[in-house]
């Protein structure tokens, strides 16, 4: 009885809290999540580093400048993460590399978001043969494993930073299509959409101003988590020599280069990997926190 009681009470209390504003409420819940706050702090710092790396680091000297006198030095006060086989400071390179990983992750996901959300919204809203075609195509697309698809795209388009973004972006499209479609299908039947249709709004207006805003939660969560996995994918491809080419300090590429020296200079593989992991972990923490904050019902 009390279980039904608590269920019954939820709608009574919800409107009261709603007065705080939906996003303020989400922020309030997110703030209480320590993991998400740690993640968010790290993400903000990383964004800061990425934006201003050109200000405090000189690309030609600090990042790719060869200094044979100081090659392969272990971590010390002068080079806190040591130097690589060209005598470049690994710490500087990792700092500078932040912008590659973040921008690939973000741009790739924006590409996926634009294509995926549009297709998903159209499929969910239009239904019928349009939906059928989009969903079948999505099915076929997603039955190619992500990594293979990325390899195929990179192989076809050639190796460059933008192609890397495109390759990873394309592989993330199906997820966004599915999530958006599912959300739209749920929202579509709500009465306010019926009402919008009844007053004669155009389809695209209904989709963009009435349906999509109400599908945001799952899309936001998926976006955050996808940026994390896109960063892993990007560094994976670079690790395989198919991503951002040397001498740019992409973390995966640095790892790949350091690998040859793993036996004697393991710090060269240690730090770039740590950088990837911390970045991805931070994004995952934020994503998890957002999911709980946006949909408290999902929270255990």
């Amino acid at each position: 009885m009390t279980t039904s009681k608590s269920k019954k009470q939820a709608p009574d209390t919800a409107p009261v809290k709603k007065q705080r504003g939906q996003w303020a409420e989400v922020w309030h819940r997110l703030k209480k999540n320590k993991g998400a706050m740690v993640g968010l702090t790290i993400v903000v710092i990383l964004i800061f580093i990425a934006l201003f790396s050109d200000v405090f680091l000189d690309y030609d000297t600090d990042v790719i400048g060869v200094n044979t006198a100081e090659r392969l030095q272990p971590p010390s006060a002068k080079h806190i993460m040591g130097t690589d086989e060209y005598g470049r400071d690994i710490f500087c390179r990792i700092l500078y590399g932040t912008k590659y990983s973040l921008s690939v992750g973000v741009v790739a996901v924006i590409i996926a978001l634009l294509i995926g959300v549009t297709l998903g919204a159209v499929a969910g809203y239009a239904g019928g043969p349009t939906e059928e075609v989009i969903m079948r195509f999505t099915d076929i697309f997603s039955s190619v494993p992500n990594m293979l698809m990325a390899l195929v795209v990179v192989a076809a388009l050639g190796q460059s930073m933008f192609n890397l973004m495109l390759a990873i972006g394309i592989t993330s499209v199906p997820q966004f299509v599915r999530i958006t479609r599912a959300a739209v299908l749920t929202v579509k039947t709500q009465e306010y959409v019926e009402a919008a249709r009844a007053i004669g709004l155009r389809n695209y207006r209904i989709i963009f101003s009435h349906i999509l805003p109400n599908c945001l939660s799952p899309i936001i969560v998926q976006t955050t988590l996808r940026v994390a996995s896109a960063i892993i994918s990007a560094s994976s491809l670079s690790f395989l020599g198919l991503g951002i080419p040397a001498p740019d300090p992409e973390w995966g590429a640095m790892l790949s280069a350091g690998r040859r020296f793993i036996r004697d200079y393991s710090y060269m593989t240690l730090f770039p990997g740590l950088a990837i992991m911390i970045t991805v972990l931070a994004l995952n923490l934020v994503g998890d926190g957002l999911r709980d904050a946006l949909d408290p019902r999902l929270k255990d």
Binding site: G127, G128, P129, E131, E132, R136, F137, D139, I140, F141, S143, V144, P145, N146, M147, L148, L151, V152, V153, V154, A155, A156, L157, G158, A228, I232, S235, S236, F239, L240, G241, L242, G252, L255, R259, I262, R263, S266, T269, L270, P272, G273, I276, M277, V280, L281, N284, L285, D288, D300
Partner: protein, 326 residues
Amino acid sequence: MYRYVLKRLVLLIPVLLGVSFLVYFILDLAPGDAVDVLAPDDATQEDRERMREELGLNRPLVIRYLDYMSDLVRGDMGESYLSGQPVWDSFIEKAPNTLLLGFASLVVSVGLSLPLGIYSANRHGTWKDNVSMVLALLGLSIPNFWLGLLLMLLFALRLGWLPSGGADGFASLILPAITIGTGMMATLTRTTRSSMLDVIRQDYLRTARAKGVSERVVIRKHALKNALIPIITIIGTQLGGILGGAVLTESVFSWPGVGRLIVDSLNSRDTPMVTGAIIMTTMFFSVVLLLVDLLYAFVDPRIKAQYATKKGGKSNDNKQKQKASA
């Protein structure tokens, strides 16, 4: 049920064609073609055109694709630019190694994540639960090629307990399998936990307890079978990750599998090998996904019933068709 399986197998054909065409189509976008590789350096533009004609390279894409597929069905995927060996032979030689590795990592991840997820769910909110969830999140965030390198560094290079590469017996399987399995294990542990937490609150578990079923049986029999449904879905979606992980891990551990074959061929621009290996892998993968899909029916009677009444096809397919025809 048998009719359903048969029908799904038949429906697989368009998927296989779709997947292989997609890959063929994208790879065809790559600049350059066989003639650039095969023609001698001093060949004139006319010589090259003639070669294209002979090789059938200037026919429309769809014709070339159908031609490729009809050869493929007969076990002919052309020859490697690099070694001159038939692509089919190289693929068949490497495939068992990747299968073995994939299976081993599946066993590692499922074997560890189910108990861990259940354990966490049963101790929901305690520090033990929190620790395993933090570990799972770490497992999710660690790039697996890096994990592979770390494991190699520790267990092969420093401690010398396990070989650092190659495919030579059971010992050489351990590190690669853990490397690939970790990501899936993390995801599966989280899924198992949340799915168990979801099921634990269901009324039918209370019914079971009220019957006098012991707590152990309630969890292992009544709850787990229900929780398995979303778990199987995730296993299905994660299999692609295993394959992707294989590409990287095989490179890290010099494991002679399909993943390494693909990467090496890509790096040496060996197009027939890349095309053949990727098309074969994706088609195989589609078959595996179908098997996972069929597995559902054995766990969830509701899905089986849906199949039985609708005679194949996902339920919403039929609904869509009805809507479309109306």
